[in-house]
């Protein structure tokens, strides 16, 4: 079992000591159990156990109940979440999106996709997001009989509001979840603009793709 500490500056990891692991096992088997009893079973003084018990209760592995003793905590098994991952915002991991206008031919849109080394191209009209086309969509079209040099990308794109979006303040975790749940490769990062007539439009300010998430995973693994 590992303990790790994460803040903006650094990631630290330590392993629980052999004695702490022993304490957990003893509590699991004999709960509720007092610190006197634990000290006796481990053949140490109660004072010697105090720091270990402090760590194990503070971290929620054990629960200390007054006049009862220590219990192995069950609450941590399900609902607690990995806060460190949940601290990272979309704005911290987004990258530059590949963008073309609706009247661009499919062929030229694919060229832009390659030039940007992107998996999805986003389509705008008057500066606002109107659609998206993925490599997979393009490949389907390329296998058919469309004239890629003539048909505009606007004809084949997935159109708003059928595009899953995120905002700068969303969590990277939620973006990853949307990517998996909706089976897409990339999400546009948008800013909502409400028009005078009440219509909602979206400016695209970036994208979050599986590549961004994989890079974040590597960054976390490197402790950066």
């Amino acid at each position: 079992m590992y303990l790790c500490i994460i803040n903006a500056e650094r990631v630290i990891t330590i392993k629980l000591t052999k004695r702490q692991e022993e304490i957990i096992e003893l509590v699991k088997k004999n709960q509720p159990i007092t610190s006197e009893k634990l000290a006796e079973m481990l053949n140490v003084t109660r004072a010697a156990l105090r720091p270990d018990l402090a760590i194990l209760t503070m971290t929620g592995i054990l629960e200390a109940r007054p006049k009862v003793g220590y219990l192995y905590s069950k609450r941590s098994n399900n609902s607690l979440i990995f806060e460190a991952i949940k601290d990272i915002k979309v704005s911290e991991i987004k990258s530059k999106p590949a963008i073309v206008t609706e009247d661009t031919t499919i062929y030229d849109a694919i060229v832009q996709l390659f030039l940007n080394d992107a998996g999805t191209i986003f389509i705008v009209n008057n500066g606002y997001l109107t659609g998206a086309v993925s490599r997979k969509d393009f490949l389907k079209i390329a296998m058919g009989n469309s004239d890629m040099h003539k048909v505009p990308v606007g004809i084949i794109m997935t159109r708003m509001p059928n595009i899953i979006t995120v905002t700068d303040d969303d969590l990277a975790f939620d973006a990853a979840k949307k990517i998996i749940e909706h089976e897409v490769d990339s999400l546009p990062v948008v800013e909502k603009v409400i028009q005078e007539d009440g219509k909602e439009l979206y400016k695209i300010t970036g994208k979050v793709s599986k590549t961004n998430i994989t890079k974040l995973f590597v960054r976390l693994g490197e402790g950066r």
Copy 2:
């Protein structure tokens, strides 16, 4: 600052207490500092500080030097890694690869790619991995003049040994790193087989893609 504990069963997170954060700040400013001095500055007894100091030294945030006092630990700033992520093996996250033989036409290979909803198709010959073709490669071919119904996929594939591979025992972290460094979407998980003539061949047992890494990230974020 958060503390989290990770093992096979669960992920737990807690926040350091306000007092623990205060202790860190005091040590940063006044190091080396004794526990007596810290107790005095915080206006509490030394005994009351003991569990906090135990947690802060055990986790490596503070260093306790006998006869000197507590120091803010620098070692943790750089080299320590996120062990939890580093515990997950490729075998735990790999999924089923889409596979065709070398003589499959490009068209049929693309159909298999779609049927498997895969980003990369792997090519085998006599059961051994010989190549790979990505969606991007297929899209390039589709934009050219090749007859996709006639040309076999073996002609256009990236050929071994130019394919980056991983094994079951490699870390998910290292797979993610290879994906980013080599700018590929998916890696075949292989098992090396040494032939009688000393030739090395590779059986493909799975794949690890950006999708698998993104799913793992979501799983970690959910504390599963």
